[in-house]
């Protein structure tokens, strides 16, 4: 059992958006499209502000956004992450198959498959040591 509801860090998700969005914007800036980079910064700041405002609420999503939910809310987040992992892995495998059928190399899809496979094995090994 965990204590929660209004605990956690309200800035957690907003900070991830600002840092992640800032990194993407910086890459776009370095790539030469300065106008789009500025627009991205504005977009991510706006979204981060909305997320910050939402994360102060009482609902399940708000609790998950501030990384402070109770056991059920954290379970929802964990399951959603697991499903997302399955979907992304399936998309990567599909990408490899399609690329191969087109006579091309697996490219980024192959990298994603390797990362997913290694991540699963490492995670499973580490989790088994704890349980």
């Amino acid at each position: 059992m965990t204590r929660a509801t209004l605990t956690g860090h309200r800035t957690a998700s907003a900070a991830v958006l600002v840092v992640g969005g800032g990194a993407v914007a910086a890459a776009v800036w370095i790539g030469g499209d300065h106008g789009f980079a500025v627009a991205l910064v504005a977009f991510y700041v706006l979204v981060a502000a909305l997320v910050y405002a939402w994360s102060g609420g009482q609902g399940d999503i708000a609790a998950i956004m501030r990384v402070g939910g109770d056991e059920r809310q954290r379970g929802l987040d964990r399951d959603a992450n697991a499903i997302t992992g399955y979907v992304v892995s399936f998309a990567a495998i599909t990408g490899v198959i399609v690329q191969t059928a087109r006579g091309e190399g697996p490219g980024g899809y192959g990298v994603m498959c390797v990362v997913a496979g290694v991540s699963y094995v490492v995670s499973l090994t580490a989790l088994r040591l704890r349980r």
Binding site: M1, T2, R3, G59, E71, R72, Q73
Partner: protein, 69 residues
Amino acid sequence: MKNRVRELRAGDGISQGDLAAALGVSRQTINSIENERYQPSLPLAIAIARYFGGTVEEIFTIDDQETVR
């Protein structure tokens, strides 16, 4: 898994929010437990039982048909 949380809470005349605050969980989690959509962890089940002055077995019951996986 069935439970008597709603019945006991109503008997005490408290709201889901009150029970949630006492147990340190969200009101939505209490609602999910009462509607048997969510099975609480053992520590939370014990906390619920202690709150109502009973035992886990008095509040949470498992059907004979159900199997423990």
